[in-house]
Amino acid sequence: MTTETHLVKHPVQQRVVHWFNAASFLFLWLTGIAIISNSGYQIGPRFYIDAVNALFGGATNLLHIHVYVGLAWFGVLVFSFLLDPHGLSLRFLKDLVPTRNDLLWFKTKPKAELVDPSIALPDQGAYNAGQKAFGVAVLVGSVVIGTTGLLMWIGTGGGALGRSLVLIHLITVGVVISFFFVHFAMAALIKEERPALVSMLKGEIDTEYVEHHHAEWYRAHSVDGEPVRSAERFALPRAVFRAIKGLVLKAHRAKPQKLGSPYLTGIGLGLSIVFGYMLLGHGPGSSGFFSRLGAYSVAEVAPDHVASNAYWGPVLGQGLWDYWLTWTVGGIALGGFISALRAGRIKFGIDRGSLISRPTRLVLALLGGVIVGFSTRITRGCTSHHLSEAALFSVGSWAFLAAVFIGGFGAAFLFKKVWR
């Protein structure tokens, strides 16, 4: 269908997502208004609330429908965006990046609109500055609305947290909806913008219109428009992977930064523990995770063997992914990775003393791990756990810390060669 006077602006995948988003969002907005019947927050008129509730068979049904449509909306958008199967997400993000011309556009547009229509506007890319602002608002707003909605669905235990989630949800919807009205009015009511609306329906756009309204984009795509090339498939995940790989390799090659002051990093560690005290009611740990990881891993192969074990049997039913230590160890890995990345301390290799070979070091690492793993079960926790309880005056934790140094000094005296 492409003729000389038309260019491909919106590939079919983009159009599908656009209209799916528009329809779901409108539906969610209309049902959402009817859900809020609490007098303090009520937005819609009473008759409307009653009518919608009656239509969907009561408040409970309405809420369920709102939640499931919302989950479908958010799930489809997030997966299609992050997976980027057609290579459109990365392009969309690039199209939203503000440029110098956008600033100029915001300065000259009101003048051109109100004072002198002959004032030339700066050249624009795929979206003009106003459209970009709308795009960013919708993108950020959708993430906020979807995330808060998801958290409300999972449940936050009521209280201040739950109430503030509802408030954030409502305010963000309000902001996005007000942007939406402008967007709707531009597309549906203003005649000059008609080609833009048509392009979102048919995918193609009039060359003359593009040349005038999106000159930068026109210069870049004047030959063939912009069909999706197969090489661009999964562009966003690939770009993210490339970026992380680049950072890791850069950190690997970089000269490591000097270490921070032990006192400052120690204070940082201490404050992380205090953070745990204040929110969770306890400090960090890690060895409990490895016990559970082991129990669940061995149970994959031999479930009866683990279930009948006096120590691991009771562990099995307690869950691995909903165990707080699993998440804390994940956090330790993430925090350590970020720090190592920043400091250029990612070094692929093996640390060893100068007198032992690499294989010997690995055997000793395994042996040390076995000893430490075994002893954590007797001591009821590792260094991080006992550090955070020693700070609360636990006698056992102080005994543990002292014993670790005694054992370490003793081993160092006996096996000097290991770390010479």
Binding site: T156, G157, G158, G159, L259, S261, P262, Y263, G266, I267, L269, L271, S272, I273, V274, F275, M278, L279, G281, G283, P284, F290, N309, W327, T328, G331, A333, G336, I338, S339, A340, I346, K347, G349, D351, R352, L364, A365, L366, G368, V370, V372, G373, F374, R377, I378, R380, H385, S388, L392, V395, A399, F400, A403, I406, G407, G408, F409, A412, W419
Partner: protein
């Protein structure tokens, strides 16, 4: 005032939020472990070969920071230390196991948390160490199920008899805060002096030990001084605040007859368990005569707790999980029950003991204009003073009842106590005779008169 933290034990949370907070805490911990250079086994073990004291410095700075942080937050009443998790001390397993742990630490080069950091720093030895940990724990599970079942191991692993759990059982917390802070700082100063000499003698050895060349040492010294100053100020500040807190609360010594309504240290009006018995007994007579009760009792406890220590004629809550849910459930129950006429009647809140949840609820209800009171000492005191056969009731219980006739004759006090006990535990349904209530006595008829004495607050019953 009650503390606002710890958040989860006080206010509850959904599992996901809890897990996310655990992850954030881990991320902070991992970040600073890496900042300290603990992704490298060589640097970690250098403390055991006395070459580099980075591990010791970081560890004890963290400990002192967390200790001062916790005590400071508690001193300004932001954090309730009693609600923090503290695992049981098993002295011998923790000491001997700790020595074994130290040996493994030196041989393997890591402890579990630092091994995770070393893996994300690209170290293969860290990964192998983690595999070793899982294998070691598997080994323990096998051992525990086999030879470990023998009594020698079990009595070592899980000793019977309470060990001393916390240092502040020996001396007040502020003594430990100052003592530990001072000892740690002093050790840092000694280390610093020691390393300066060491540096002058053999700079090569020092360079071998750590990444920091001697030139940056004075800067580390400045940081040390600043830390010393900061920590000392904080410790002294906490000590001052703590000493202020330790002043004993003055308890008003009254006659042997308690005022029915007193005010406890948290400024919440309380009622003693004996007076509450009187109120409940007389309300039973009122209800039997189809008259509205003169007070309401709201029981916050769970079904099992209520069954264990029964209190008759209470309003109960549906099962709840968190404190905020409990709060909302209480308001809902009261909303259903209280008529306008009931707003001025005493509303007694009962919990297992004097809990923050209960006294907060009382304060909250009082703000809303209700005459809420707390059962002093909760169900524990109720058990000791009312249900226990060992408790001796005072004579005034069966004394004169301010001019009204009890429908049943008033027996002597020991017999009366037995009657009340068997009625409360449900052994009999016949309500005992009226009891004399100190402070306030209210007649069961429409022509009820209130004789109020003592410290404000109405009685009922």
């Amino acid at each position: 005032m009650t503390a606002a933290f710890p958040l989860v034990p006080l206010h509850g949370s959904s599992p996901l939020i809890y897990l996310l907070m655990a992850a954030v805490m881990g991320a902070g911990f991992g970040f600073f472990l890496e900042r300290s250079g603990f992704g490298s086994a060589k640097r970690l073990t250098a403390v055991f070969t006395l070459r580099d004291w980075q591990v010791y410095r970081v560890m004890f700075t963290a400990l002192v920071t967390a200790m001062i942080g916790a005590q400071l937050l508690a001193a300004v009443e932001l954090l309730d230390l009693g609600l923090l998790e503290l695992s049981t001390t098993y002295l011998w397993p923790m000491s001997l196991g700790g020595i074994l742990f130290g040996v493994g630490f030196y041989v393997g080069g890591f402890c579990p948390g630092t091994a995770v950091v070393s893996v994300v720093s690209g170290r293969l030895d860290g990964l192998v160490f983690l595999v070793g940990i899982v294998l070691g724990i598997y080994g323990f599970a096998l051992f525990f199920d086999g030879p470990g079942q023998a009594s020698w191991f079990q009595s070592f692993y899980l000793p019977v008899g309470a060990a001393v759990q916390a240092l502040d059982e020996f001396a007040p917390a502020w003594v430990w805060v100052i003592g530990i802070t001072a000892a740690v700082i002093l050790s840092f100063v000694y280390l610093y002096i020691f390393e300066q000499r060491f540096a002058m003698l053999t700079p090569e050895q020092l360079k071998d030990a750590g990444d920091r060349p001697p030139a940056v040492r004075p800067r580390a010294g400045r940081t040390a001084k600043v830390t010393v100053a900061l920590a000392t100020t904080l410790a002294v500040g906490i000590a001052v605040l703590q000493i202020g807190n330790d002043e004993p609360t003055v308890v008003a010594a009254g006659s042997d007859i308690p005022a029915a309504v007193a005010v406890d240290s948290e400024s919440v009006p309380v009622v003693d368990s004996l007076s509450l018995v009187g109120w409940i007994v007389s309300d039973a007579h009122r209800l039997a005569a189809d008259t509205p009760p003169n007070c309401h009792v709201l029981d916050l406890r769970t079904e099992q707790q209520r069954a264990a220590i029964p209190i008759r004629g209470t309003l109960v809550l549906p099962a709840v999980n968190t404190r905020s849910e409990q709060h909302e459930a209480a308001l809902a129950v009261l909303d259903d029950v209280l008529t306008t006429a009931d707003k001025n009647k005493p509303l007694v809140i009962v919990d297992s003991e004097d809990s923050n949840a209960a006294s907060d609820l009382v304060a909250d209800l009082r703000v809303q204009g209700l005459n809420a009171l707390l059962l002093d000492g909760g169900a524990g005191a109720w058990q000791d003073n009312v249900l226990s056969a060992d408790s001796i009731w005072p004579e005034w219980v069966v004394g004169t009842t301010a001019g009204f006739e009890s429908p049943t004759p008033i027996p002597e006090v020991a017999v009366y106590h037995d009657l009340v006990r068997s009625w409360m535990t449900g052994n009999t349904d016949e309500a005992p005779a009226y009891m004399s209530i100190p402070g306030t006595v209210q007649l069961p008829s429409e022509a009820a008169t209130v004789v109020a004495t003592g410290s404000g607050g109405g009685g009922c019953g």
